[in-house]
Amino acid sequence: MSYFGRLLRIDLSSNTSKDEEISKNLLQQFLGGKGLGAWFLYKEVPAGCNPLSEENKLIFALGALSGTMAPAASKYHLLTKSPLTGIFLDSNSGGHFGPELKACGYDVFIIEGKAPKPVIIFIDNGRVNFLPADDYWGLGIYDTEEKIRESLGDKRIRVASIGIAGENLVKFACIGNDYSRHAGRGGAGAVMGSKNLKAIAVRGNHNVEVVHPFEFIQAVSEANSWIKDNPWVKSKRRWGTAGSAQLMNEQGVWPVNNFSQTSFQQFEKIGHEVFDHGLVKRLSCANCSVSCSKGYRDTTFTGGEIEGPEFETICLLGANVGLDDPQAIAAANYLCNNFGLDTISAGVVIGMVIDALDKGIISRKVVGLSENKNRVEMVLWLLEQIANRCGFGNIMAEGVRDFAGQFGLESLAPHVKGLELPAYDPRASFGIGLAYQTSDRGGCHLRSWPTGREITGILSPGNSIDGKAEFVSGQQHEKAAQECFGVCQFPYGIGFLSNSLVNLLNAAIGSNHDNSSLIKVGERVWNLARCFNNREGITRADDLLPAKFADEPLPDGRFKGTRLTYELQNRMLDEYYQLNGWSSEGIPCRKKLEELGLDEMASDLWGESQV
C-alpha cells in the first residue's frame, strides 16, 4: 500500500520525536494530503490560539499517491493556522521535497513547540537530527538550501526553508523548497519563523509500494496518455502559466494598478513571448510530463534566477504595481523567492501602497521613499523593507487588511478574510468572486476556478451569477478530494475529469472508489475546514468581498461598468449555502456533518446531540 500508516511528531521545545500510528479508519475517511492534515489541524490546534505562538503546529501531510510514479504526484500539503488570516491554512508546493519526505517512511509530520534557538531539522530516513542554525539565520532560501546540502555532504538531500521574511514573522512569508517552489500563501513561513525553525532537510530511502502493481503501471500509462492529449496541458507545456496572461488581459479580468483597471496598456512588454525569449531552462516537478516551469534569469537588477515568473506574479508584481519591464518583474520575483515572500500578497500590498501614494492618501515621506526612486527601484526597495520589517515595511508586513485598517482604506483593500486576492478581478468574473468569498483559506483562486468556463461559454458569462453557486460548490468538493492525492492540478485539471486519478488511487491503495465516493471525501474535507473556521468565529459576514468590488464599477475592459453588488454576492451565498447543506449563517448543519461522519465537529458547533 502506498501508505506507511505512520505519523512522525517532532517537538522543537524538547528536541524529541515520536513515531505514532495513523488509524486505517482515518486514512479511509481522508485519504491523505490536505484531508488528513486538516483532521490533525482541527484536533490539535486549539480554537483561538495565536498562530505565532507555541500552540500552533506545522503539519506536513503527504498524499495517497506521493512517492509513487503517478504523474505529477509531487505535492506536499502544509496545514497550519494562518498568521495572516487567523483561520485554516492549507498551502502546498511541488518540486521534489514532498516525495523525499514520504520516502522517510511517514504520511504525516507534525512539528510542534518552539526551539529555544534557531534550529534545522534533518529527517534522515525517519531519524530526526536537530542541528544548530545560527550560521544559517539571515540567509536566503537559495543559499540555505545549498549550504545545507554542502554541509551534510549529500546532493540528494531536499530542503524546505524560510528566508528572512519568515524569520522576521512577515505575515505572508512562505516556505521555499527546490529553490523556486513555494508553499506560498497564508504565511506558513512566519509560523516556521515563530518556532525558530530555519529549515527542514530530508533524505528518504524507504520503498513506496502499491497494492496492485500491474494495474498501477497500467494506470500510470493511461494517465500519461490522457495528460498528453489534454488541450489545456499543451499551452502549459509550451508557455507555462505565463501563457494565460494575454487571454486574461484581453478578457478584461486582469487586475491592473491596484485592481483599478482590467487591461494593461503596456501588455506587449510583459507577455508570455517576452519571457519565452529569455528562457534559460525548462524544469519539472517530480514525475511530471507537463514541465510548466520556465526558468528565467534577471540579468539587469539582481542577477537572480527563478522558475517563472508565473501568471500570478506577472500580474500582481507587474501590471498591478505598474511595472512593464520583464527584467524588473523577474527581479521582484527573485527577491520574493529568496526572502521567502508570497508574490501574490506582496504584489497586492505594494499595489495598495502605490495607489495610496498616487492618490495622495500617504506621502513619500511617510513611506520613507526618496524622490528620485523610479517605479522599479521603488518596488524592489519596498520588498526589502517588508522582508526586513524596516520602517514602513513593518506595517506592510502585516498584510493588506491590517495595512488598510491603519490608514482607513478598508473598503479598498483587495482581500477576503485577510488573504490578498489573486489575479482575477471578481467584477469581471462573478464565479471567481464566489470562489474568493467561500474559499477555505480566504481569497484564493485554487479551490474553484470558474473563470475559464465563463470565458469559453460553458458557464454563464462573467457578469452573471447564474449557475455559479452550483459550479463553485461542486468544484470545491472535487478539488478538496484531489488535494488528498498529493498531485498537481495542472496535468489532470481540477477534480476528476477522467478516470486517471481514480484508477491510480484504487491500484495504489486497493480501494474501490469511484468519482462520486471521492467527491464525498472532498465534501468531508471541505466541511471539516469550514468547521475549523466556524470555530474561529467565521460566519456569513466574513464571506463577502471588500466594498470596492461591490460599489465601484469597472472603468474599462469587456465588463466596463460592472459591479458585483452585495445583493448579488448574497444571492450567490444563499444558493451556495443551501447546496452545501449549511445554515444561512454559513455554518454546516448538524445533519450534513453527521452524514459526512463529522459527528465530533457537529457537537462542537451545535452542542451534544439530543438523540
Binding site: 509513487t68 521534489h96 529553490y179 530511502n205 509500494e209 524544469l283 519539472s284 514525475n287 510530463s289
Partner: protein, 130 residues
Amino acid sequence: MNMKHLFLIRDKCTGCRTCEYSCSLHHYNVFNPSRSRIQIYRTGCLDLEAKYCVQCVKPRCVPACPEKAIKQGENGVRIESKLCNHCGQCMKVCDRIFSDGCFAIMCNNCGACVDVCPEEALEIRVRKKI
C-alpha cells in the same frame, strides 16, 4: 566490439526524475529513487546534474574493487552482486556508482528509463570500441 551505454541529452532533461522511479521499479519492483542507477541532482536554481555509468573505456571501478565483483566483459562493466560486500571502494573512485543499501549498483543499459522519459532525453547509444 560495440559498447552500449546510456546517454542523457542534458538540454532536454527537465529534472522530473521519472527515470529514477522507473529504474527502481524495474530492478526492485518498488518506487525508491534512492535505489536508482541514474541520479539527477539539482545543483542550482536552473542547473541539473545527471550521474549514471557511462561505460568508461578504462573503468577505475574495476581495479578498485577488492572482491573482484566488478568486471568488464563483452556487454560492458557490470557488478556481480553476489561477490559485492558493499565496502564502498568503487563509490570512492567513481560517483556514478551508487548503493541500494545492500550492494553497489550501476546502470546496466537495460533501458527501463528510456521509454518513460517524457522529454525523450534518454537514449541507449552504441560506442565503437577501438
